[in-house]
Protein backbone atom coordinates (compact mmCIF):
# COMPACT_ATOMS: atom_id res chain seq x y z
CA UNK A 1 0.00 0.00 0.00
CA UNK A 2 2.79 2.36 0.98
CA UNK A 3 4.73 1.41 -2.15
CA UNK A 4 1.68 1.72 -4.35
CA UNK A 5 0.93 5.29 -3.30
CA UNK A 6 4.61 6.21 -3.53
CA UNK A 7 4.92 4.81 -7.04
CA UNK A 8 1.69 6.50 -8.13
CA UNK A 9 2.93 9.88 -6.94
CA UNK A 10 6.36 9.33 -8.50
CA UNK A 11 4.76 8.40 -11.83
CA UNK A 12 2.57 11.51 -11.66
CA UNK A 13 5.56 13.72 -10.89
CA UNK A 14 7.62 12.25 -13.76
CA UNK A 15 4.71 12.61 -16.19
CA UNK A 16 4.17 16.26 -15.28
CA UNK A 17 7.93 16.92 -15.42
CA UNK A 18 8.12 15.41 -18.92
CA UNK A 19 5.19 17.55 -20.00
CA UNK A 20 6.80 20.66 -18.50
CA UNK A 21 9.99 20.07 -20.47
CA UNK A 22 8.18 20.89 -23.72
CA UNK A 23 6.96 24.23 -22.29
CA UNK A 24 10.49 25.65 -22.37
CA UNK A 25 11.76 27.91 -23.89
CA UNK A 26 8.76 30.16 -23.32
CA UNK A 27 7.39 32.29 -26.18
CA UNK A 28 7.61 36.07 -26.00
CA UNK A 29 5.21 37.90 -23.73
CA UNK A 30 2.42 39.63 -25.67
CA UNK A 31 2.73 43.44 -25.39
CA UNK A 32 0.86 44.80 -22.37
CA UNK A 33 2.29 48.30 -21.99
CA UNK A 34 -0.34 50.32 -23.93
CA UNK A 35 -3.20 48.33 -22.47
CA UNK A 36 -1.97 48.97 -18.92
CA UNK A 37 -1.50 52.68 -19.56
CA UNK A 38 -5.01 52.84 -21.02
CA UNK A 39 -6.42 51.56 -17.71
CA UNK A 40 -4.62 54.39 -15.93
CA UNK A 41 -2.21 52.09 -14.12
CA UNK A 42 1.48 51.29 -14.13
CA UNK A 43 1.34 47.82 -12.59
CA UNK A 44 0.10 45.40 -15.24
CA UNK A 45 -1.09 42.92 -12.63
CA UNK A 46 -3.33 45.57 -11.04
CA UNK A 47 -4.63 46.51 -14.49
CA UNK A 48 -5.65 42.89 -15.08
CA UNK A 49 -7.02 42.20 -11.59
CA UNK A 50 -9.01 45.44 -11.29
CA UNK A 51 -9.52 46.28 -14.95
CA UNK A 52 -9.82 43.54 -17.50
CA UNK A 53 -10.87 40.83 -15.01
CA UNK A 54 -12.69 43.07 -12.51
CA UNK A 55 -15.78 40.87 -12.15
CA UNK A 56 -13.66 37.81 -11.55
CA UNK A 57 -11.96 39.63 -8.67
CA UNK A 58 -15.20 40.95 -7.23
CA UNK A 59 -16.77 37.51 -7.13
CA UNK A 60 -13.66 36.05 -5.58
CA UNK A 61 -13.99 38.64 -2.84
CA UNK A 62 -17.57 37.41 -2.51
CA UNK A 63 -16.31 33.81 -2.17
CA UNK A 64 -13.95 35.02 0.56
CA UNK A 65 -16.80 36.76 2.38
CA UNK A 66 -18.94 33.60 2.08
CA UNK A 67 -16.16 31.50 3.65
CA UNK A 68 -15.95 33.97 6.51
CA UNK A 69 -19.73 33.78 7.02
CA UNK A 70 -19.31 30.00 7.12
CA UNK A 71 -16.61 30.27 9.79
CA UNK A 72 -18.78 32.64 11.83
CA UNK A 73 -21.88 30.44 11.67
CA UNK A 74 -20.09 27.13 12.21
CA UNK A 75 -18.16 28.30 15.26
CA UNK A 76 -21.11 29.99 16.95
CA UNK A 77 -22.31 26.82 18.80
CA UNK A 78 -18.77 26.22 20.07
CA UNK A 79 -18.42 29.62 21.77
CA UNK A 80 -16.90 29.52 25.21
CA UNK A 81 -19.37 30.49 27.91
CA UNK A 82 -17.15 31.10 30.91
CA UNK A 83 -14.77 34.05 30.61
CA UNK A 84 -11.18 33.24 29.81
CA UNK A 85 -8.46 33.67 32.40
CA UNK A 86 -6.42 36.65 31.18
CA UNK A 87 -2.99 36.05 29.77
CA UNK A 88 -0.09 37.13 31.95
CA UNK A 89 0.98 40.66 31.10
CA UNK A 90 3.98 40.64 28.83
CA UNK A 91 5.51 44.12 28.65
CA UNK A 92 7.58 43.21 25.60
CA UNK A 93 4.50 42.25 23.60
CA UNK A 94 2.59 45.36 24.67
CA UNK A 95 5.52 47.57 23.72
CA UNK A 96 5.87 45.75 20.39
CA UNK A 97 2.16 46.23 19.70
CA UNK A 98 2.35 49.92 20.64
CA UNK A 99 5.37 50.55 18.45
CA UNK A 100 4.49 48.34 15.48
CA UNK A 101 0.75 48.88 15.08
CA UNK A 102 1.05 52.39 13.65
CA UNK A 103 3.64 51.53 10.98
CA UNK A 104 1.71 48.37 10.06
CA UNK A 105 -1.52 50.29 9.48
CA UNK A 106 0.24 53.05 7.55
CA UNK A 107 2.13 50.56 5.39
CA UNK A 108 -1.06 48.60 4.71
CA UNK A 109 -2.84 51.77 3.58
CA UNK A 110 0.16 52.69 1.45
CA UNK A 111 0.14 49.24 -0.16
CA UNK A 112 -3.56 49.52 -0.95
CA UNK A 113 -3.39 53.10 -2.22
CA UNK A 114 -0.33 52.56 -4.44
CA UNK A 115 -1.33 49.14 -5.71
CA UNK A 116 -1.91 50.38 -9.25
CA UNK A 117 1.53 52.02 -9.45
CA UNK A 118 3.77 49.38 -7.95
CA UNK A 119 3.68 46.05 -6.21
CA UNK A 120 0.96 45.79 -3.59
CA UNK A 121 -2.79 45.96 -3.86
CA UNK A 122 -5.77 45.26 -1.70
CA UNK A 123 -5.13 41.62 -0.85
CA UNK A 124 -1.70 41.87 0.82
CA UNK A 125 -2.77 45.15 2.45
CA UNK A 126 -5.80 43.47 4.01
CA UNK A 127 -3.76 40.51 5.20
CA UNK A 128 -1.24 42.88 6.75
CA UNK A 129 -3.99 44.78 8.55
CA UNK A 130 -5.38 41.47 9.82
CA UNK A 131 -1.94 40.51 11.15
CA UNK A 132 -1.72 43.90 12.86
CA UNK A 133 -5.05 43.27 14.56
CA UNK A 134 -3.80 39.85 15.68
CA UNK A 135 -0.71 41.51 17.19
CA UNK A 136 -3.02 43.84 19.09
CA UNK A 137 -5.10 40.85 20.20
CA UNK A 138 -1.98 39.11 21.48
CA UNK A 139 -1.06 42.17 23.52
CA UNK A 140 -4.50 43.03 24.90
CA UNK A 141 -6.26 39.66 24.96
CA UNK A 142 -8.72 38.61 22.25
CA UNK A 143 -11.80 38.98 24.43
CA UNK A 144 -11.03 42.56 25.40
CA UNK A 145 -10.22 43.56 21.84
CA UNK A 146 -13.36 41.78 20.64
CA UNK A 147 -15.35 43.87 23.11
CA UNK A 148 -13.75 47.08 21.92
CA UNK A 149 -14.16 46.36 18.21
CA UNK A 150 -17.90 45.88 18.16
CA UNK A 151 -18.67 42.93 15.96
CA UNK A 152 -21.98 44.26 14.57
CA UNK A 153 -20.18 47.37 13.35
CA UNK A 154 -17.46 45.24 11.75
CA UNK A 155 -20.09 43.06 10.13
CA UNK A 156 -21.80 46.14 8.71
CA UNK A 157 -18.42 47.38 7.48
CA UNK A 158 -17.79 44.04 5.77
CA UNK A 159 -21.15 43.96 4.00
CA UNK A 160 -20.87 47.65 3.19
CA UNK A 161 -17.50 47.04 1.53
CA UNK A 162 -19.04 44.27 -0.59
CA UNK A 163 -21.99 46.42 -1.63
CA UNK A 164 -19.63 49.29 -2.51
CA UNK A 165 -17.43 46.93 -4.53
CA UNK A 166 -20.40 45.58 -6.49
CA UNK A 167 -21.68 49.14 -7.03
CA UNK A 168 -18.27 50.13 -8.37
CA UNK A 169 -18.41 47.11 -10.67
CA UNK A 170 -21.80 48.26 -11.99
CA UNK A 171 -20.42 51.77 -12.41
CA UNK A 172 -17.58 50.39 -14.52
CA UNK A 173 -20.01 48.31 -16.55
CA UNK A 174 -22.69 50.93 -17.28
CA UNK A 175 -21.14 54.34 -16.70
CA UNK A 176 -17.70 53.53 -18.08
CA UNK A 177 -15.75 54.59 -14.99
CA UNK A 178 -12.03 54.19 -15.51
CA UNK A 179 -8.76 55.54 -14.18
CA UNK A 180 -6.28 55.39 -11.34
CA UNK A 181 -8.66 56.86 -8.76
CA UNK A 182 -11.10 54.03 -9.29
CA UNK A 183 -8.30 51.52 -8.69
CA UNK A 184 -7.33 53.21 -5.44
CA UNK A 185 -10.92 53.05 -4.21
CA UNK A 186 -11.33 49.41 -5.20
CA UNK A 187 -8.04 48.45 -3.56
CA UNK A 188 -8.98 50.18 -0.31
CA UNK A 189 -12.37 48.45 -0.26
CA UNK A 190 -10.77 45.05 -0.95
CA UNK A 191 -8.24 45.67 1.83
CA UNK A 192 -11.06 46.53 4.25
CA UNK A 193 -12.98 43.39 3.31
CA UNK A 194 -9.95 41.09 3.60
CA UNK A 195 -8.86 42.63 6.92
CA UNK A 196 -12.31 42.28 8.49
CA UNK A 197 -12.54 38.70 7.22
CA UNK A 198 -9.14 37.83 8.67
CA UNK A 199 -10.11 39.40 11.98
CA UNK A 200 -13.35 37.38 12.04
CA UNK A 201 -11.44 34.13 11.51
CA UNK A 202 -8.80 34.87 14.12
CA UNK A 203 -11.27 36.18 16.68
CA UNK A 204 -13.69 33.28 16.32
CA UNK A 205 -10.92 30.69 16.38
CA UNK A 206 -9.46 32.30 19.46
CA UNK A 207 -12.73 32.60 21.35
CA UNK A 208 -14.10 29.15 20.63
CA UNK A 209 -11.15 26.88 21.36
CA UNK A 210 -8.17 27.91 23.40
CA UNK A 211 -6.88 31.43 23.58
CA UNK A 212 -4.60 33.64 21.56
Amino acid sequence: MKWASGMAILALVLLVAAGTWSLFPRPDVPPWEEETAAWGAKNAVAAIVLGARLWDTLFEVLVYAMAMVGVRLALRPLRRTEPQAPLPETPLLRRAADVLLGPIVVFAIYLAASGHLGPGGGFPAGALLGSGLLLLALAKGADRLGGELHEPILERGEYGAIVALLAAGLGVLFLGWVGGGLFVGLNLLIALEVAIGAWVVLHHFASSRGEV
Binding site: P119, A127, V201, L202, F205, G210
Partner: protein
Amino acid sequence: MGTVLLSVLTLALAVFALTQRRLLWGVIGVGVHSLALAGVYLFLAAPDVALTEAAIGFGLVTFVYLLALRRTGRLVVAASEAYPILYQEGERIVGLEWEILSRFGRSLHRDVEVLWVPRSEIPRLLASAEVDLAAGGFLPRDGEAALLSSPLVPTRLVTVRTGEGPLGAVAGDRGQDHLPPDAPTYEDHEALVRALARGEIGGAVVDLLRARQWFLAGHLRDAEMTPVEDSLAFRFAVAASETETYAALERFLHDFSATGELARSLEEHLS
Protein backbone atom coordinates in the same frame (compact mmCIF):
# COMPACT_ATOMS: atom_id res chain seq x y z
CA MET B 1 21.81 31.11 -9.46
CA GLY B 2 20.02 32.78 -6.57
CA THR B 3 16.77 31.19 -7.68
CA VAL B 4 18.33 27.72 -7.69
CA LEU B 5 19.79 28.12 -4.21
CA LEU B 6 16.56 29.51 -2.81
CA SER B 7 14.63 26.67 -4.52
CA VAL B 8 16.81 24.08 -2.81
CA LEU B 9 16.28 25.85 0.52
CA THR B 10 12.50 25.96 -0.03
CA LEU B 11 12.35 22.26 -0.86
CA ALA B 12 14.52 21.40 2.16
CA LEU B 13 12.23 23.43 4.43
CA ALA B 14 9.16 21.67 3.01
CA VAL B 15 10.75 18.24 3.55
CA PHE B 16 11.80 19.27 7.07
CA ALA B 17 8.30 20.50 7.89
CA LEU B 18 6.42 17.49 6.52
CA THR B 19 8.65 14.86 8.14
CA GLN B 20 8.32 16.23 11.68
CA ARG B 21 6.68 14.14 14.37
CA ARG B 22 5.12 17.04 16.24
CA LEU B 23 2.39 18.96 14.48
CA LEU B 24 3.53 22.25 16.00
CA TRP B 25 6.93 21.98 14.33
CA GLY B 26 5.24 21.00 11.09
CA VAL B 27 3.09 24.13 11.16
CA ILE B 28 6.04 26.39 11.96
CA GLY B 29 8.13 24.68 9.26
CA VAL B 30 5.42 25.20 6.64
CA GLY B 31 5.23 28.85 7.68
CA VAL B 32 8.95 29.39 7.16
CA HIS B 33 8.69 27.43 3.91
CA SER B 34 6.02 29.89 2.73
CA LEU B 35 8.36 32.79 3.45
CA ALA B 36 11.12 31.15 1.38
CA LEU B 37 8.54 30.54 -1.36
CA ALA B 38 7.75 34.27 -1.34
CA GLY B 39 11.48 34.85 -1.90
CA VAL B 40 11.38 32.55 -4.93
CA TYR B 41 8.44 34.56 -6.36
CA LEU B 42 10.48 37.71 -5.92
CA PHE B 43 13.35 36.17 -7.90
CA LEU B 44 10.87 35.19 -10.61
CA ALA B 45 9.91 38.88 -11.13
CA ALA B 46 6.51 38.56 -9.45
CA PRO B 47 6.57 41.13 -6.61
CA ASP B 48 2.78 41.24 -6.27
CA VAL B 49 2.52 37.50 -5.73
CA ALA B 50 5.49 37.59 -3.35
CA LEU B 51 3.88 40.28 -1.18
CA THR B 52 0.57 38.46 -1.06
CA GLU B 53 2.22 35.13 -0.24
CA ALA B 54 4.33 36.69 2.52
CA ALA B 55 1.35 38.43 4.10
CA ILE B 56 -1.13 35.56 3.79
CA GLY B 57 0.86 32.34 3.44
CA PHE B 58 3.39 33.26 6.09
CA GLY B 59 1.28 35.44 8.36
CA LEU B 60 -2.39 34.56 8.41
CA VAL B 61 -2.20 30.86 7.48
CA THR B 62 0.35 30.13 10.21
CA PHE B 63 -1.74 32.03 12.77
CA VAL B 64 -4.89 30.15 11.82
CA TYR B 65 -3.13 26.80 12.11
CA LEU B 66 -1.65 27.72 15.47
CA LEU B 67 -5.02 28.85 16.81
CA ALA B 68 -6.65 25.63 15.62
CA LEU B 69 -3.82 23.62 17.21
CA ARG B 70 -4.14 25.26 20.62
CA ARG B 71 -6.56 22.66 21.92
CA THR B 72 -6.66 20.00 19.23
CA GLY B 73 -3.09 18.70 19.19
CA ARG B 74 -1.80 15.33 20.26
CA LEU B 75 -0.82 14.20 23.69
CA VAL B 76 2.54 12.51 23.29
CA VAL B 77 3.38 10.07 26.07
CA ALA B 78 6.80 8.54 26.64
CA ALA B 79 6.58 5.22 28.44
CA SER B 80 8.46 2.05 29.15
CA GLU B 81 6.39 -1.09 29.15
CA ALA B 82 5.09 -2.15 32.57
CA TYR B 83 3.06 -5.33 32.43
CA PRO B 84 -0.22 -4.89 34.26
CA ILE B 85 -0.48 -1.12 34.05
CA LEU B 86 0.71 -0.09 30.57
CA TYR B 87 1.70 -2.62 27.94
CA GLN B 88 1.09 -3.74 24.39
CA GLU B 89 -1.14 -6.64 23.49
CA GLY B 90 -0.42 -7.27 19.82
CA GLU B 91 -1.22 -3.97 18.09
CA ARG B 92 -3.30 -2.61 20.96
CA ILE B 93 -2.13 -0.78 24.06
CA VAL B 94 -3.88 -1.84 27.26
CA GLY B 95 -3.56 -1.49 31.01
CA LEU B 96 -4.67 0.69 33.88
CA GLU B 97 -2.65 3.74 32.91
CA TRP B 98 -3.80 3.44 29.30
CA GLU B 99 -7.40 3.52 30.47
CA ILE B 100 -6.70 6.72 32.40
CA LEU B 101 -4.65 8.27 29.59
CA SER B 102 -7.15 7.57 26.84
CA ARG B 103 -10.00 8.99 28.92
CA PHE B 104 -7.88 12.02 29.77
CA GLY B 105 -7.15 12.48 26.05
CA ARG B 106 -10.87 12.33 25.29
CA SER B 107 -11.59 14.98 27.89
CA LEU B 108 -9.00 17.26 26.23
CA HIS B 109 -10.14 16.30 22.71
CA ARG B 110 -6.64 15.12 21.89
CA ASP B 111 -5.37 11.84 20.48
CA VAL B 112 -2.93 10.02 22.72
CA GLU B 113 0.26 8.74 21.12
CA VAL B 114 2.64 6.50 23.07
CA LEU B 115 6.37 6.42 22.32
CA TRP B 116 8.01 3.33 23.81
CA VAL B 117 11.39 4.40 25.15
CA PRO B 118 13.85 3.07 27.74
CA ARG B 119 13.54 4.60 31.20
CA SER B 120 16.85 6.49 30.91
CA GLU B 121 15.55 8.46 27.88
CA ILE B 122 12.53 9.88 29.67
CA PRO B 123 14.14 12.82 31.56
CA ARG B 124 15.68 14.18 28.36
CA LEU B 125 12.40 13.87 26.43
CA LEU B 126 10.49 15.62 29.22
CA ALA B 127 13.05 18.39 29.57
CA SER B 128 13.06 19.19 25.85
CA ALA B 129 9.22 19.02 25.81
CA GLU B 130 9.38 16.47 22.99
CA VAL B 131 6.77 14.57 24.95
CA ASP B 132 4.02 15.94 27.16
CA LEU B 133 3.79 13.09 29.63
CA ALA B 134 5.78 10.18 30.98
CA ALA B 135 4.01 7.02 32.12
CA GLY B 136 4.44 3.26 32.39
CA GLY B 137 5.32 2.50 36.00
CA PHE B 138 7.07 5.83 36.36
CA LEU B 139 8.83 6.23 39.70
CA PRO B 140 10.21 9.77 40.04
CA ARG B 141 13.85 10.18 41.02
CA ASP B 142 15.17 13.09 42.98
CA GLY B 143 16.23 16.04 40.91
CA GLU B 144 14.12 15.30 37.84
CA ALA B 145 12.61 18.54 36.58
CA ALA B 146 9.05 17.45 35.92
CA LEU B 147 5.62 18.08 37.38
CA LEU B 148 4.40 14.96 39.20
CA SER B 149 0.76 13.95 39.27
CA SER B 150 -1.02 12.63 42.32
CA PRO B 151 -0.22 8.99 43.10
CA LEU B 152 -1.94 6.29 41.03
CA VAL B 153 -0.72 2.92 42.29
CA PRO B 154 1.03 2.55 45.65
CA THR B 155 4.18 0.44 45.52
CA ARG B 156 7.57 0.01 47.17
CA LEU B 157 11.13 -0.75 46.16
CA VAL B 158 12.51 -4.17 47.05
CA THR B 159 15.78 -6.02 46.69
CA VAL B 160 15.44 -9.43 45.08
CA ARG B 161 18.40 -11.68 45.81
CA THR B 162 18.78 -15.00 44.02
CA GLY B 163 22.44 -15.77 44.61
CA GLU B 164 25.93 -14.38 45.00
CA GLY B 165 27.12 -11.41 42.99
CA PRO B 166 26.47 -7.67 42.62
CA LEU B 167 23.01 -6.13 42.53
CA GLY B 168 21.72 -4.67 39.26
CA ALA B 169 19.07 -2.17 38.27
CA VAL B 170 17.48 -0.55 35.25
CA ALA B 171 19.44 2.46 34.00
CA GLY B 172 17.77 5.69 35.11
CA ASP B 173 15.30 3.92 37.40
CA ARG B 174 14.85 4.84 41.04
CA GLY B 175 16.43 1.54 42.06
CA GLN B 176 19.76 2.89 40.83
CA ASP B 177 19.76 5.40 43.69
CA HIS B 178 20.17 2.56 46.15
CA LEU B 179 23.17 0.99 44.45
CA PRO B 180 26.86 1.94 44.29
CA PRO B 181 27.71 3.98 41.17
CA ASP B 182 29.59 1.11 39.51
CA ALA B 183 26.69 -1.33 39.81
CA PRO B 184 25.64 -3.04 36.54
CA THR B 185 22.70 -1.36 34.80
CA TYR B 186 20.45 -2.58 32.01
CA GLU B 187 18.33 -0.83 29.43
CA ASP B 188 14.96 -2.19 30.55
CA HIS B 189 13.39 -4.69 32.90
CA GLU B 190 13.42 -7.36 30.23
CA ALA B 191 17.20 -7.20 29.97
CA LEU B 192 17.52 -7.07 33.76
CA VAL B 193 15.53 -10.24 34.34
CA ARG B 194 17.43 -12.04 31.59
CA ALA B 195 20.73 -11.15 33.28
CA LEU B 196 19.27 -12.35 36.53
CA ALA B 197 18.25 -15.66 35.00
CA ARG B 198 21.71 -16.15 33.47
CA GLY B 199 23.28 -15.52 36.88
CA GLU B 200 25.30 -12.49 35.71
CA ILE B 201 24.08 -10.60 38.75
CA GLY B 202 23.08 -11.89 42.15
CA GLY B 203 20.00 -9.75 42.50
CA ALA B 204 18.20 -6.57 41.57
CA VAL B 205 16.56 -3.51 43.06
CA VAL B 206 13.14 -3.10 41.47
CA ASP B 207 9.62 -2.06 42.35
CA LEU B 208 7.29 -4.56 43.91
CA LEU B 209 5.07 -4.78 40.86
CA ARG B 210 7.88 -6.05 38.60
CA ALA B 211 9.18 -8.37 41.31
CA ARG B 212 5.74 -9.88 41.65
CA GLN B 213 5.44 -10.28 37.90
CA TRP B 214 8.83 -12.03 37.69
CA PHE B 215 7.85 -14.27 40.54
CA LEU B 216 4.60 -15.22 38.82
CA ALA B 217 6.46 -15.84 35.57
CA GLY B 218 8.76 -18.28 37.39
CA HIS B 219 12.00 -16.30 36.98
CA LEU B 220 12.57 -16.18 40.74
CA ARG B 221 12.34 -19.60 42.37
CA ASP B 222 13.78 -19.23 45.82
CA ALA B 223 14.51 -15.55 45.96
CA GLU B 224 14.89 -13.50 49.06
CA MET B 225 12.93 -10.25 49.07
CA THR B 226 13.84 -7.36 51.36
CA PRO B 227 12.10 -3.98 51.28
CA VAL B 228 14.31 -0.99 50.49
CA GLU B 229 11.99 1.98 50.36
CA ASP B 230 8.35 2.17 51.37
CA SER B 231 5.45 4.46 50.55
CA LEU B 232 6.29 5.10 46.90
CA ALA B 233 3.72 5.36 44.13
CA PHE B 234 3.57 5.18 40.36
CA ARG B 235 2.69 8.60 38.98
CA PHE B 236 2.53 10.44 35.71
CA ALA B 237 5.20 13.03 35.07
CA VAL B 238 4.28 16.11 33.03
CA ALA B 239 6.88 18.20 31.19
CA ALA B 240 7.70 21.29 33.22
CA SER B 241 6.58 23.65 30.44
CA GLU B 242 3.10 22.06 30.15
CA THR B 243 1.52 23.68 33.20
CA GLU B 244 -1.95 23.75 31.61
CA THR B 245 -1.85 20.05 30.82
CA TYR B 246 -0.68 19.40 34.36
CA ALA B 247 -3.56 21.34 35.89
CA ALA B 248 -6.04 19.52 33.65
CA LEU B 249 -4.50 16.15 34.56
CA GLU B 250 -4.72 16.88 38.27
CA ARG B 251 -8.38 17.89 37.94
CA PHE B 252 -9.08 14.77 35.90
CA LEU B 253 -7.33 12.45 38.38
CA HIS B 254 -9.16 14.08 41.27
CA ASP B 255 -12.51 13.40 39.63
CA PHE B 256 -11.40 9.94 38.61
CA SER B 257 -10.60 8.89 42.18
CA ALA B 258 -13.49 10.82 43.74
CA THR B 259 -16.05 8.84 41.75
CA GLY B 260 -14.45 5.59 42.86
CA GLU B 261 -13.48 4.65 39.32
CA LEU B 262 -9.78 4.58 40.18
CA ALA B 263 -10.38 1.97 42.86
CA ARG B 264 -12.53 -0.07 40.46
CA SER B 265 -9.85 0.06 37.73
CA LEU B 266 -7.14 -0.86 40.22
CA GLU B 267 -9.20 -3.86 41.27
CA GLU B 268 -9.78 -4.88 37.68
CA HIS B 269 -6.21 -4.55 36.42
CA LEU B 270 -4.08 -5.50 39.38
CA SER B 271 -5.92 -8.33 41.16
